[in-house]
């Protein structure tokens, strides 16, 4: 394996579901993303790695419509699209699970999963939607389906308050909430950062389930062990620039770490 084979073209992969190219993003004087290319296919876990401040979270927020890039083009299944906000991204099936989960601890799992789009009972059409009675049973059934789909086995009941759940369970709930909303791309920003071994395992299982259910998964992490366990490909960013993308099976932790910290060729020429 030589550097050139990685850098001149991406490894052969299923045709990308979401692809972006030439993304530029400035924050005042900081050039956070410099001409970034990135892609992810369905049924694949794409890891996004890089040192602190490399631009991983920024890229993810651009994909989710939370940041609008200064320049750059987006394609979804080969069709060029434009994303001008979180709502459009969500409509196109792009969902993000933020580092700070943002769950309501005072509500139960089912309520959290259907927050903002609660099913209401039929026959109350004379009331405005926000005053129609919530169909709690339907809500529970949907929640149970979402949980079952992700095979979160440790969760006893969808009526448990989120405040009483473990970190891994919460992460799973946050993922289930993103997946529940008819998503095709799910992005996870350091989902295991604060978790112990067993909890991490649980989250990695959920990530694998997402791949099995034909989602395109983007996975940010600093933990090489986790990445080599779940990722199909690894995309390395450094100082807001692409370094390269590897197939997990064809690389090693050392190679990735070197790429993260020094880039290719000891920081000399970068790809593109």
């Amino acid at each position: 394996m030589t550097v050139e084979t990685h850098s001149t073209e991406l490894p052969a992969a299923p045709s990308p579901h979401l692809r972006v190219s030439g993304i530029q993003k400035h924050f005042g004087g900081v050039h956070a993303l410099q001409n970034i290319d990135f892609e992810v296919a369905r049924g694949e876990v794409m890891a996004l790695v890089g040192d602190n401040g490399a631009g991983k979270s920024t890229l993810m927020k651009v994909l989710a419509g939370a940041h609008i890039p200064d320049e750059g083009r987006f394609w979804l299944d080969g069709d060029e699209i434009s994303i001008d906000g979180p709502q459009t991204a969500a409509q196109k099936g792009i969902q993000i699970v933020y580092q700070d989960l943002a769950l309501c601890e005072n509500l139960d799992v089912a309520a959290n999963l259907s927050l903002g789009h609660e099913p209401t009972k039929a026959g109350w059409r004379f009331l405005p939607r926000f005053l129609r009675p919530i169909d709690e049973l339907e809500m529970e059934i949907r929640a149970q389906q979402a949980i079952d789909q992700l095979e979160v086995r440790t969760l006893r009941s969808v009526r448990a308050l989120v405040g009483g759940l473990s970190g891994g369970q919460r992460q799973a709930i946050a993922i289930a909430r993103a997946v529940g909303a008819k998503s095709s791309v799910v992005m996870l920003d350091e989902p295991t950062a604060a978790l112990g071994v067993a909890q991490t395992r649980q989250v990695l299982n959920v990530v694998r389930r997402l791949r099995e259910t034909n989602h395109a998964v983007i996975y940010i992490s600093h933990n090489m062990r986790d990445i080599f366990e779940v990722a199909d490909r690894i995309c390395v960013l450094r100082h807001g620039q692409n370094v390269a993308t590897w197939r997990t099976a064809e690389t090693t932790t050392d190679e990735i770490v070197v790429a993260m910290t020094r880039g290719l060729d000891q920081g000399g020429k970068h790809v593109r």
Binding site: P86, Q87, Y98, D100, A102, L103, C104, E105, N106, L107, A111, N112, L115, G116, H117, E118, T120, R129, F130, L131, R132, P133, I134, E136, L137, E140, I141, Q144, S157, L161, V162, G163, G164, L165
Partner: protein
């Protein structure tokens, strides 16, 4: 050793508290303690210690006193229900009593100049809602903390009330307005209402259980479901019978229960209510799922304004007059916030129930009433109220589900 036992009790309390119904437990306990003390312990103590008493005097638990207690607590309870709604958001409303005062004063003046009672009431309800909405807009859209906005509202509305009532007092003798407190339901109608209420609840429980089973969901434990029903039935029937045995159920109490039921339903069973809890629990989460957090807050302040106006109407009706001290200048504000908090509603948002606010109002009302009957001074009353408030919040803090410890 004792540490271990204590932990177990706390754990058990937490388990009870986690059920929706369980949040009633501390406030009911407080009520039971206060009633037991003033109703049983004090009279018996007096009987045994003073040789010249020839019979035990259960004044506190007399149906007449309980009737008065309910009437006295109604105004506080109405405001407390409204305040609970904004507390759920994590906001506070310090202006509720002053809003009630302005509305009551306006009501008195409107009635004085000959506006028909029901029109005056509607106008006043509208004014109250607008006062709440105006504050809500400042809070949600300008971003001033609710504490500051409603503190300004408290001062401003107190002044406004004095402007409307230069003499500080106005008699209200409009029949429609007095009717809320004067009209009594015929005894049989009261009982029928209670029966209907319990029947509807029983039907709802059975239907819910059947539906759950039909859709293959884990059923609620039958013991808990029916236990709750039996408990509510006992509460409702004993209230109606006690009220009947003095006079009968006053219209005001029925209206209060109705308004609370409606508010309770909206807050727990509709998407709007769910959004209130969501904003109170984690407003960032609410924003990300596409809720309009600002509009929700404005609506909640509109509701508290509306209920404050209703409290003003109830107060004017009960006292037959509007006075500065009965509303804006008196203890009504702190009592209604206290009632909501004693009811177990968190000051940090996301947790609480409007029904508990009614019970909280009864706790505060009972305490004041009991201390009055036992000849305590105003100073004693204040100190006792403070202690009860602290105790209630302490019980709440200890028995709170572990995941909500930060709240």
């Amino acid at each position: 050793m004792s540490d271990k036992v204590q932990l177990r009790i706390v754990d058990r309390m937490r388990i009870i508290r986690q059920s929706r119904f369980g949040s009633f437990v501390p406030v009911l306990l407080a009520l039971a303690v206060i009633w037991g003390y003033f109703g049983l312990a004090m009279p018996l103590w007096q009987y045994w210690t003073s040789p010249d008493a020839d019979s035990v005097n259960f004044i506190f638990l007399s149906s007449r006193n309980i009737y008065n207690l309910f009437m006295q607590s109604s105004v506080t309870a109405t405001l407390a229900v409204g305040i609970t709604v904004v507390l759920l958001l994590g906001d506070i409303d310090l202006s509720a009593a002053a809003t009630a005062g302005v509305c009551a004063a306006l009501l008195g003046v409107l009635a004085l100049v000959g506006v028909p009672g029901w029109i005056a009431c509607l106008i006043v309800l509208g004014v109250g809602a607008m006062m709440g909405v105006a504050q809500g807009v400042l809070i949600a859209y300008i971003g001033i903390p609710s504490f500051v906005v409603t503190l300004a509202g408290l001062l401003g509305f107190q002044g406004l009330m004095q402007k409307i009532l230069p003499t500080g007092n106005l008699n209200v003798d409009n029949d429609f307005i007095r009717g809320f407190a004067r009209i009594l339901l015929p005894d049989t109608l009261g009982v029928m209402l209670a029966v209907a209420l319990v029947a509807v609840m029983a039907f709802a429980v059975m239907r819910r259980q059947a539906l759950r089973r039909a859709r293959g969901l884990e059923g609620d434990s039958a013991f808990v479901a029916w236990g709750q029903l039996v408990f509510v039935a006992i509460l409702v029937f004993s209230t109606v019978f006690v009220l009947n045995s003095y006079r009968s159920v006053p219209l005001m109490v029925v209206l209060l229960v109705g308004v609370t039921a409606l508010t309770g339903w909206v807050t727990t069973s509709t998407p709007f209510g769910r959004s209130i809890f969501a904003v109170g629990g984690n407003s960032e989460s609410a924003r990300r799922v596409g809720m309009n957090v600002k509009r929700i807050r404005v609506a909640a302040f509109g509701i508290v304004g509306l209920l404050a106006a209703l409290g003003g109407i109830f107060g004017a009706s009960r006292y037959g007059s509007v006075s500065y001290t009965a509303f804006a200048g008196g203890s009504l504000l702190l009592e209604s916030i206290g009632a909501a908090v004693i009811g177990g509603t968190s000051l940090f948002g996301g947790r609480g129930s409007v029904w508990n606010a009614i019970l909280g109002a009864l706790v505060i009302g009972s305490l004041g009433n009991g201390l009055d009957l036992s000849g305590a001074s105003a100073a004693d009353k204040l100190m006792f109220s403070g202690a009860i408030l602290l105790l209630a919040v302490a019980i709440d803090a200890i028995s709170r589900p572990p995941g909500l410890s930060g709240k």
